[in-house]
Every structure is written in structure tokens, then in C-alpha cells.
């Protein structure tokens, strides 16, 4: 488990987290963040729609808190990568780590989807074929004492 990188702003009022990463959100660090062999089997073209790598075109290796990281747009957080990145393979590694993260269902966005999705949708979106449906049992909260107006 990594150090909690959340910090307060200098004013301390209100407390504000300025570094949100995947480990902070999920409370876990995953094997593919620490071991390159975990992602070697990922086929990027097979994992994306169309005749090329499609949306992964925009995914590149970035840096967060001085560590190489890929941004997971489904949870608005960085996924840090702790091994040495072979030169010239930065973007490829970033894309494979992200796809592995999404296909494994480890993205915090997927966790939120399980809990809060309001419409039926595949749990693992377009990343895994035939994944189970979530959001099919959403019950809207009811305010205690509230009554629907007549006719509704």
C-alpha cells in the first residue's frame, strides 16, 4: 500500500485533497503497477473498437508526484507505475496498464458504477465482452414524510 498522498492546502481551511490517485480511491495497489510482465499479454487493438487503437490514441504516459502514471478518465485519477519503463515504450505501457486496470474491474469508476448506476449497463463497459449488467436495481431515495402531488 502506498503512502497516502492526500495533503491539505496551506490555508487548512477547508481541508482539500490535491492529489487523487487510484490507490487513494481504491485502497489498493495492483500487480500491474509493479510488474511489467502483468501487462505483456494485452492486445491494444483487440481491446478497442475500430481498425486502430481508437480512444487510446489520446492516452500517453504522464507523471504524478514524480512517478510515471497513466490517467484513468473513468475515475478521474492517476494510476502510478512503479517499474522502470523501457525507453520508447512509454505510451504503449501506459495504454496497456490502463486497459488491464479497466478490464480487471479495478477502476474506482467501476466500483462507483456497481454502487450508484441508475441505468442498466455492462459493468465492464466496452472493455470486456459479456460482462454482467449493473444499475438494474437502482431505487431512488425517498425523502421521509414526502408525498407525491396528486396525479403523479
Amino acid at each position: 500500500m502506498s503512502t497516502d498522498h492526500s495533503v491539505s492546502n496551506p490555508r487548512k481551511d477547508p481541508e482539500k485533497i490535491i492529489s487523487i490517485d487510484s490507490e487513494y480511491l481504491t485502497g489498493k495497489r495492483f500487480a500491474y503497477q509493479e510488474e511489467i510482465s502483468e501487462i505483456e499479454g494485452i492486445d491494444l487493438q483487440e481491446s478497442t473498437p475500430g481498425g486502430d487503437i481508437n480512444w487510446l490514441e489520446d492516452i500517453t504516459m504522464l507523471e504524478e508526484d514524480g512517478t510515471p502514471a497513466v490517467f484513468d478518465r473513468y475515475s478521474n485519477s492517476f494510476l502510478k507505475i512503479y517499474y522502470e519503463i523501457p525507453e520508447g515504450r512509454e505510451d504503449e505501457i501506459a495504454r496497456k496498464v490502463l486497459i488491464k486496470h479497466l478490464q480487471s474491474g479495478n477502476s474506482y469508476g467501476t466500483v462507483l458504477k456497481q454502487r450508484y448506476a441508475k441505468f442498466a449497463q455492462p459493468e465492464l463497459g466496452p472493455w470486456v465482452k459479456g460482462s454482467k449488467t449493473v444499475g438494474d436495481n437502482y431505487v431512488p431515495p425517498v425523502l421521509e414524510g414526502w408525498e407525491a402531488p396528486e396525479g403523479h
Binding site: 489520446d58 455492462p122 463497459g125
Partner: protein, 263 residues
């Protein structure tokens, strides 16, 4: 068949604009793993429920929608890999918030087609209205025709290709991604863009604030050549490249949380 779950909350509509009956009609004809829906007599909600039922619950991967009749908001929120073909024109906000589908529209589309698209491929064999690809975040959006104003407004990723002319304020406030504009472009191209790349083959009426010419690189040419080949658009013509002059905005001054919004 019961409603696709989560669709059962609307029970009353005072204005009479909403389809309140949320049952899936199950009118699609399925043959050899492919489905066809005749949408002529169906409301928008019924069509979308039918599509979702097919691709989410029945495992159908190819769906053809006949007679869409220019209805609005068709094909929205499809979040899985599948192939959709619309045989006819679509109205406003078609194919918004999709993630994964490969879609062909054999017709025209109205305003805001593919807004907030996350991934996938959409090929429109016809003209598109204004705000096409608004806030698109990924995937390929190909318009084999002309587009209105503000194509790719607030674009945060992905590739928009337009074979015909594009209207005013194309690429307005663009933040990432790329547009390949093969026809002429109206006034204020790339106005207030933060980042991203615009390639233009035709004449540009005028550039917007902070949009400046850039230099074509081998990477640019590789991308353009690859995308044009993918969509049978031939070889790349001579292109002008436009990028952000970075005089209006500076990422370094953004709060980390603000910076993430444009990733």
C-alpha cells in the same frame, strides 16, 4: 418483456413529451445473430430501449435500425462494443455519450451528434448540424459531408474527420484531440483553443483567438494517412496544421483538479 431496469421511474408527464411506457416491445427481428428494428412506428424511448435490450441483455452484436425518421436522441448511452447501422437520418443529439459502438448512419444528423462520445467509431454518410462532436473525449467521428458551426466545441480527445466544408468557430475551445477538415472552413477556426490539432485541406476564412499555424511532422502525416485509409478517404491532400498559440491559457497555473478535467 419487462423494461430494461432503471427505466421505470417516469410515470407521469404533464407536457405529454415523454414516452411513459417503459416496456421493451421486443419487436426486433433477429436472424443469424443480427437484429433489425423497424423504427417507423416507435417513439425515441422505445427504440433506445429495444437497442439496449438487444446489445446488453440478449448479446446481439449487430443491430440495424430502419426508418429512424429523424427522431432525436437515438442511439444514446450505448456503453458496449457492438455495431449499429441507422438506415436513414437522425435528429438532434444522436449517439451521445456512447462508449464502444461502431456506428454507421446512412443519412444526415442534426445538432450535437456524438456529444460526449468516449470511444468507438461513428461514420455519418451525410451532412451534420452544428455542435457535432461537442465535448467528444475519444474515438473516431467521421462525417462524409458538410458540418455546421462549432464542430468539436470543447473537444477533449478523439478524432473528428469532415470531408466537406465546416462552419464558423470550428474547434472552439478545443482542449485535446484532433480534427481533419478536408474542405473549406468558416471564420474563427480554433477560437480560444487550449490544445489539440487542426488539419485543414481547404481554405480557412479566418483564425480565432490564439489559433496559430503549426508545422506538419512525420507523426502528423502518419496519423492522417492511417485515419484516411481506415475510412476509405484516399491519400492525404496537402494540409495546413493549426495549433494553440498558448497565449491565452497556461496549464501550469491551473489547480491540479482543474488540470485533470482536460485529461
Amino acid at each position: 418483456m419487462d423494461a430494461v431496469a432503471g427505466e421505470s421511474q417516469i410515470t407521469y408527464d404533464a407536457r405529454g413529451l415523454v414516452e411513459v411506457d417503459d416496456t421493451v416491445l421486443g419487436v426486433a427481428v433477429v436472424k443469424d445473430g443480427k437484429a433489425t428494428i423497424d423504427a417507423a412506428e416507435l417513439t425515441t424511448r422505445k427504440i433506445n430501449l429495444e437497442i439496449r435490450s438487444l446489445v446488453y441483455e440478449q448479446g446481439i452484436e449487430e443491430v440495424t435500425i430502419l426508418n429512424p425518421g429523424g427522431k432525436h436522441s437515438l442511439g444514446v448511452g450505448i456503453l458496449t462494443r457492438c455495431k449499429l447501422t441507422f438506415e436513414g437520418s437522425l435528429g438532434y443529439f444522436a449517439l451521445g455519450v456512447i462508449d464502444g459502438p461502431e456506428v454507421t448512419v446512412n443519412g444526415r444528423v442534426g445538432w450535437s451528434a456524438c456529444e460526449n462520445m468516449m470511444s468507438g467509431v461513428v461514420v455519418i454518410n451525410g451532412n451534420a448540424g452544428s455542435l457535432t462532436g461537442a465535448a467528444i473525449r475519444g474515438g473516431d467521428l467521421v462525417i462524409k459531408g458538410r458540418v455546421g458551426a462549432r464542430t468539436g466545441i470543447d473537444q477533449k480527445g478523439g478524432t473528428i474527420i469532415v470531408t466537406g466544408a465546416a462552419g464558423s468557430n470550428t474547434g472552439f475551445m478545443m482542449q485535446r484531440g484532433r480534427q481533419l477538415l478536408l474542405g473549406d472552413v468558416g471564420p474563427h477556426l480554433g477560437d480560444s483553443m487550449y490544445d489539440g490539432t487542426l488539419y485543414v485541406a481547404g481554405k480557412v476564412k479566418s483564425l480565432g483567438a490564439d489559433c496559430v499555424p503549426g508545422e506538419m511532422t512525420d507523426e502528423d502525416l502518419e496519423l492522417v494517412t492511417r485515419k484516411m485509409a481506415l475510412y476509405d478517404l484516399g491519400s492525404p491532400p496537402e494540409l495546413q496544421k493549426f495549433v494553440c498559440g498558448k497565449k491565452l491559457y497556461n496549464y501550469d497555473n491551473l489547480e491540479p483538479s482543474e488540470r485533470k478535467l482536460v485529461l
